[in-house]
Amino acid sequence: MSELWRRCLSRLEAEFSAEDLHTYLAPLQVSEEESGFTLWAPNAYTMETVRERFLAPIVEVLEHLCDGPVAVEVQVGARSPDRGVGKPATRTRTAPERVAGSDSSLDPNYTFENFVEGKSNQLGKAAATQVAMNPGRAYNPLLLYGGTGLGKTHLMHAAGNLMRANKPDVKILYLRSEQFVSGMVRALQQKGMDDFKRRFRSVDALLIDDIQFFAGKNTTQEEFFHTFNALFEGKQQIILTCDRYPKEVDNLEPRLKSRLGWGLSVAIEPPDFETRAAIVLAKAQAKGVELPEDVATLMAKRMRSNVRDLEGALNTLVARANFEGRRISSEFAQETLRDLLTVHAQAITIPNIQKTVADYYQLRLADLLSKKRSRSIARPRQMAMGLAKELTEHSLPEIGDAFGGRDHTTVLHACRTIRDLRETDGKLRQDWEKLVRTLTE
């Protein structure tokens, strides 16, 4: 039979495009039984595509070679040396299955010990620690919000891990919002809503990441609302993250927004320069990479948007240093990261401008974007709007949106004010020039 299968394969190789081979046929694993062949696909989409497009030709070739009927079936699953032959899905890694486990979903690599603290995130860290020490009592829910790549998920896992360290039998469920959504869809399809509800309501702590993706999904929000209430009443801890202040998420139900505000909401701001440098050094140490401080400084100075960019830059340095067998020096980093650093210099974004201006005037980013109208905040805000118009291609309405949903006429007014003041006010002109330099260097 094996010989037969091999002959079948060489026919198929000639028959299909290279892309079909790479994507759908090469990843298949095969087991052979008395009754016929089973093809194991790594995932559902591959299984369906193989059944739809390739099964008939495979059977045809086999039957031709055998001169008689051959049974071939396609299943999801993996055959690997350590997992036995043809066992279905010891590693079917679909999201809903993961939901079934509870504690296993926490990532032990994220702890408070390896979280680099700075001005921008110390409040978040303190709140998460409090919650982990007194689950269900300190702040419920705890909501951490802020842009992508700033450490919200890290803090969330760290809180979960600390809860478990304090009380090993605690039931913690961490999941990303889309796992909640897909778990619910599946429960609805399979009429398993009771199980679904029970699973979420029986935990001591429920941690859900990126709840902004609940926006516009009404059934999910409805179910989450009830889950939330049940947990809240049971004094079970809820920790959530969101990419912005929940009240600003469109298409989120008002009653859910109001519940989210019952506990404590903490902003995680982009890290300042010192924190960025400390983060790079910590990441390098964790990887066992020797990173000189001047390289960390260079990276922190040039990459200001989020931690993932720094991580990518570090990974890039390590990849090239491995290959060339070179030590990571400042010169080596300049050379290796040239493209990356240029991209960052070019990509002046509104959030970047806001962050830079807030830093410059020693304001909190949240204040800069707030409705507060005191001069000490309003002027820097106008400055940031003026810079956004000058240094990006965004339209005035877009700029207004980015500044807490302001009207484009407000932006226009700000730009005119700043332009006029640059003529008459020496200090402001200096500020302007320094900011432009910082943003474009």
Binding site: A18, H22, T23, A26, D107, D339
Partner: protein
């Protein structure tokens, strides 16, 4: 009683690491080799113009991972036409997943979101993801900042197409492997008249191979002229 068969369908022999002419792309080659042997768990993001070897390297990494007993799958996002988001959500489950042509989903909200989900899922499950696109993440025009930042966290490997000298040397070597000697004059003639990307050049070599075999002639400029003009 079931029996285990050797590797199912073969990954193509011409897209292996051994056949990759690195030129200026040595560090990318090395990084992918390490990744396919699981020596380094950092995810990689390759970017470069078409013809710079993106697909070759991704497919080679799949083949090598497979040869090492790991499961691997290659997927060009450009090849998914209908219901792209749904398809992307249906992937995963391999030890190594190589995603080519990430550009194809830029600006498609649902597909971007699906890729973001796939990224998170693969990370949680401990699989290794490799990406390839024409440009660095921030320049692809992806609307979902969460996805851009995640792609940016990969080691960024810029691929540069082989320069003309390297391509000439490669073509000469490939020809020699088939017993054809291409002298400098013949190479000059070919490079002046053919498109100079490797796919075209290898196609030209196939044609020369067949024709010289049939005609039982050495490959000279007059022979090339008779063949192509």
């Amino acid at each position: 009683m079931s029996s285990q068969l050797p590797l199912a369908l073969r990954w193509p022999a011409h897209q292996r690491f051994e056949g990759f002419v690195a030129g200026a792309n040595g560090s990318a080659l090395e990084a992918l080799q390490r990744a396919s042997r699981c020596e380094d768990r950092a995810w990689l993001y390759l970017h470069g113009a078409s013809g710079s070897g993106r697909t070759h390297l991704l497919v080679a990494a799949c083949a090598a991972a497979n040869a090492g007993g790991r499961t691997a799958q290659y997927l060009s996002l450009a090849s998914l036409r209908a219901r792209r988001a749904e398809a992307i959500r249906g992937f995963g489950g391999s030890d190594l997943l190589a995603l080519d042509d990430v550009d194809a989903i830029a600006g498609e909200r649902d597909a971007e979101h699906a890729l973001f989900d796939l990224y998170n899922r693969c990370r949680a499950e401990g699989s290794l993801l490799l990406f390839a696109a024409s440009a660095p993440p921030a320049q692809l025009g992806i609307g979902l900042p969460d996805l851009v930042s995640r792609l940016s966290a990969c080691a960024q490997l810029a691929l540069r197409p082989l320069d003309e000298d390297e391509r000439r040397a490669l073509l000469r070597e490939r020809a020699l492997a088939r017993g054809i000697e291409l002298d400098a004059a013949a190479l000059d003639w070919l490079f002046a008249r053919s498109k100079r990307d490797l796919a075209t050049l290898f196609g030209v070599l196939d044609r020369i191979d067949r024709a010289s075999l049939a005609a039982k002639r050495r490959v000279t400029v007059p022979f090339l002229r008779s063949l192509f003009d």
